[in-house]
Amino acid sequence: MPVQVQKLCKTFQIPHERRTTLFENLTAFLRPNHYETITVLQDISFSVEEGESVGIIGDNGSGKSTLLKIIANILRPTTGQVKVSGRLTPFLELGVGFQPDLSVRENVGIYATIMGLPAKEIGRRMGDILDFAELRRFEDAKLKNLSSGMQVRLAFSTAIQTDPDILLVDEVLAVGDMDFQKKCFEVFERYKKDNVTIIFVSHDLAAVRRFCDKTLLLSNGRQVEFGGTNGVIDKYIYKEEHQINQIGEKKTRWGNKRIEILGVKFIDKNGKESDKFLSGDPFLARIYYEAHEPITSPIFGIVFYNQETYCYGTTTKFKKIDMGHVIGKGHVDFFLERLPLLEGTFQVTVALAPSDYKFAFDFHDRLYSFQVLRVNEDLGLFDMDGKWSWEKYG
């Protein structure tokens, strides 16, 4: 087991009055300093299998980075223990130990050594590193004469030359332009293929979903959930919705239920129930109902949301469908030949109303959700299926 965390607690003592010198400590000897103990992590236990990628998610201040630093042995647990077996490389910040006054080549040497690459390997890979960073021409220039973009590139191409057993990645890496992020993920994919164990802290749920087998959800330093990524992320999102419900007392279901929605299933191209769909695949939402009394021409409606964004809504009435008299159980299908969504988690509202929309029989406000995974490199919520063409005038 590469990483094992057992009953880990971490507290920081924050003095009300910070005394950093001996003089201050001596003069303040008679006035006791009050410390405030802040619990940053409480009772965290989980373990990571070899070759697994684990995401750590949670709000700001939930203790994600502290946990990562404890695993990296930079901070020490207050109680509990962390066992790490194997060579661990933390990517908490790029370019640790860079010296602006030394040359590019020398800096690669220092940084690679800090990251744990043996001296002879550095010599062997120096060319690769400089080529990958596209800085071969500047190898003898002083680091301070490079642009910050070049420095990041240099640090990154050096850092990825390490061969760790365990890799810790902090959010910080996710800053940078799209191109750089893409490069990062390509490298992580490569590490993953090489069976490197990866622990990844991020706010980017889409990235965690795409990349991590398991996820740990932290909230105010407590472990809320550890398990399969999709379940944990759902829990994180639902918890947020739950909070909205409490604060705004927003109801998620209402109606007189003379005709009731029993449930909704999302069915994929293989005819199986699923909550994950590939962009562009067929999509079917099957709404099961039960009418407790005869109803004439009920209207079924469906709405797709992405968080607070209302993406698309339609009803059977909009589509000129009249179901006539309805009694007992049955189902209504909403079918898309090509799911035009690109990527993300979508919430679904399903509603049943009489033909004049005067009230609701049964309204399920965003009670269902499914995910869409993209299959191409396009970006955004929707797959508009755009095509490029050109004509040259010269």
């Binding site: 010198t21 640790v96 990251m115």
Partner: protein, 259 residues
């Protein structure tokens, strides 16, 4: 447990050398005269002290120039090594907070940088020996041994001071004062013989005073150290090193929080 730590340090030897060497280079990189600055400083001091002491105060010491030069070089080693080390942890926050390796590597490498600077100065000393036609006897073989023990004393002091300075930032200033007093309380510029005999014993309790005297004896005056002297120096070096290491090890876990 301790031996386990030595394994870690051995695994980090590349890093120790790399950090020490780059720091050494950085110290001279931006100056026109480069390495010569490091030679100029002790030579200038030698000149001033020599003029003052040999002419005005009439110190009667054989080879006083070399006596003085060796004293200054060795005292500088202690001064530099420990002063640089007080910044060894607090001056490198990203190496402490963003990455992990045994943190005494930072201090060992700082002391190695000081060692490199001292070795450079010793080249000048050797040149002076040639100029003054001093032929060393077999007793000079003790030099590397005594010098190594001096290094261990500096390393021990550095470990303790660097760790304390993380929590109490005025340790660096207090240590400067201690060094200034020490410069005059240790036989750097004068021979131990200026003290009355009973006071000599007291001054010689200071292991650095022993180092200076023994190094001069074996290089300039063909006197080998006695077993007693060697034993005292070895013992005190080990005590200082262990004490420094103990303080460092106790304070190290919270470096990243307190820095």
């Amino acid at each position: 447990m301790r031996f386990h730590h030595l394994d870690d340090l051995w695994a980090g030897r590349d890093l120790i050398i790399k950090l020490a060497w780059s720091d050494f280079k950085l110290r001279y990189k931006n100056s026109v005269l480069g390495f010569f600055w490091s030679l100029l400083e002790p030579l200038l001091m030698l000149l001033v002290l020599y003029i003052v002491f040999s002419n005005l105060m009439r110190v009667q010491v054989e080879y006083y120039q070399l006596f003085l030069l060796l004293g200054i070089i060795m005292w500088n080693f202690l001064d530099r090594g420990t002063s640089m080390s007080t910044q060894g942890i607090v001056g490198k926050p990203s190496l402490v907070q963003k990455v992990y390796f045994p943190r005494d590597i930072l201090i060992i490498s700082t002391c190695l940088t000081a060692l490199m600077m001292t070795l450079l100065e010793l080249v000048v000393f050797v040149a002076f020996m040639v100029i003054f036609r001093i032929t060393p006897s077999i007793s000079i073989l003790y030099f590397p041994l005594i010098f190594s023990l001096h290094f261990l004393i500096i390393l021990g002091l550095s470990l303790g001071l660097s760790a304390l300075n993380v929590y109490f930032r005025d340790v660096q200033f207090i240590w400067r004062l201690v060094l200034q007093v020490g410069f005059f309380a240790t036989p750097v510029i004068y021979p131990i013989s200026i003290f009355p005999t009973d006071l000599q014993g007291l001054v010689m309790l200071n292991p650095v005073a022993r180092v200076l005297t023994m190094l001069r004896n074996c290089t300039l005056y063909q006197i080998s150290p006695t077993t007693g002297e060697m034993a005292y120096l070895t013992l005190s070096a080990i005590v200082v090193l262990l004490l420094g290491y103990f303080i460092f090890e106790r304070l190290e876990p919270k470096f990243a929080e307190a820095i």
